[in-house]
Symmetry: C2
Subunit: 230 residues, 2 copies
DNA sequence: CAAAAATAATGATTAATATCAATATTTTTT
DNA sequence: AAAAAATATTGATATTAATCATTATTTTTG
């Protein structure tokens, strides 16, 4: 059983094409006032509605980024994996966090000052392009997720989420899921009970296997079919 | 009966704080290769999947911006009104259109070259800030719409859409709706029949009045309540 | 380690919404 | 102006998914 669960990327400078476009001096500037914090599983890293003056970088662990709305369920926009910059859309308007980020496992987070990052965007055109590319891609991914959640039905959405977790988060057909049922419900945009129901169905049809919290994809092709037509 | 339907904003230079941060020379540069096109009601202005090399500005008329997905219903992200720059998220990655824009009424559209705009973003910090602010705000609005569509139920979503149309699009309690039932369904993320059903209910409860295609908001407070709790 | 709390599993019930079908109306075209 | 096409209205039915209730299991905490 392979588990890519503990991928680490504490060395942020080498982690992403983002930083390779920066000069020594610029890196130094970015690192000024940079802090690194350890969060325990379950802790809130950044709360929706608070002031956005830092940009986050995930060194190790997994986190969820979700939108809250009083009286409604949370909706998980994305699972954040090591090596990624997390920069809300609010960054450019010096606004408030539009989403909350919480640790799914113990995580190591670095914080950079938004102002410094913004200055670098103006100074360095290459950096600007790479940064905006990543930023935009994130936005497009969120659109994709949100718009499909609305239009597919439960099995299709669950198939999507399982493939997402397997392919993009854990990089493996078999993984120990760090999300509980409620998280999974909020990732799929359905109720907790529907999660249970559809997971049971998938197991009966031999599409997946679940033992404790170890998920195993048995029939990827069938899942892709359900994703497409269900 | 007041109808703010035909607001015009052909003079793009004075229309938005966006342009006031540009110098004479910069405006000239932006205007190079700028073209203006008239579209008839129903025509596709920009198709999802095509190359994004121009940014649009709506001079007059109304348009819808929506995401397509084979086999699924369209989902309308936003109704575009005169005086707004339309710049997909793909702009920064020099990518493809992630959404389609089509005319709901006859419209006058100006196209600016993305490359020129991008150059100005690098040159002019004020322009950058204003532009990014608008861009970001749009993204956040889309998030808001998409995430609420998923979590509210039919009456709540319809109440949201009616308030959106009244307050943000037509600026009036009474308006001649330029969307047909299918558009409305795609704006609310529900089926066409559900649109009819809930509109009938709203009329019975004296929340709105519909005559031909003239919509009149009778009880805004009740609608806001439904939006909140329904 | 035991008790308590949280989470998960399962089936039954209810509520919400989409689909279908049949008719009426409006708009467009000839 | 008449015919055709598109859009809208309405009610009935079927499907889907949420809620509820109960029991089992797992995890956390003292």
């Amino acid at each position: 059983m392979k588990k890519e669960n503990s991928r680490e990327c504490l060395n942020w400078r080498n982690s992403s094409p983002l930083f390779s476009s920066l000069s020594e001096k610029e890196v130094e500037f970015l690192t000024e006032g940079y802090i690194q914090v350890h969060f325990k599983k379950g802790e809130t890293i950044r709360k929706q509605g608070t002031i956005l003056d830092h940009v986050m970088y995930i060194g190790s662990g997994l986190a969820k980024q979700y939108i809250e709305e009083p009286g409604l369920n949370d909706i998980i926009l994305t699972i954040i994996i090591p090596g990624k910059m997390v920069c809300s859309a609010g960054f450019f308007v010096n606004g408030l966090q539009y989403s909350t980020v919480a640790a799914l496992t113990d995580t190591e987070i670095s914080f950079f000052k938004s102002d410094h990052l913004k200055d670098l965007l103006h100074q360095n055109k290459d950096f600007f392009n790479v940064f905006m590319g990543e930023f935009t891609q994130t936005v497009l991914n969120h659109y994709q997720r949100l718009s499909l959640i609305n239009r597919k039905q439960v099995p299709g959405r669950m198939a999507d989420s399982l493939l997402y977790l397997s392919k993009e988060i854990y990089n493996c057909d078999e993984f120990s899921l760090d999300l509980n049922r409620l998280d999974l419900a909020n990732l799929c945009g359905m109720s907790k009970d529907s999660v249970d129901k559809v997971l049971r169905d998938f197991q009966e049809e031999k599409l997946i296997q679940i033992k404790k919290n170890i998920f195993k994809i048995l029939d990827e092709k069938a899942l892709r079919n359900i994703s497409k037509f269900g």
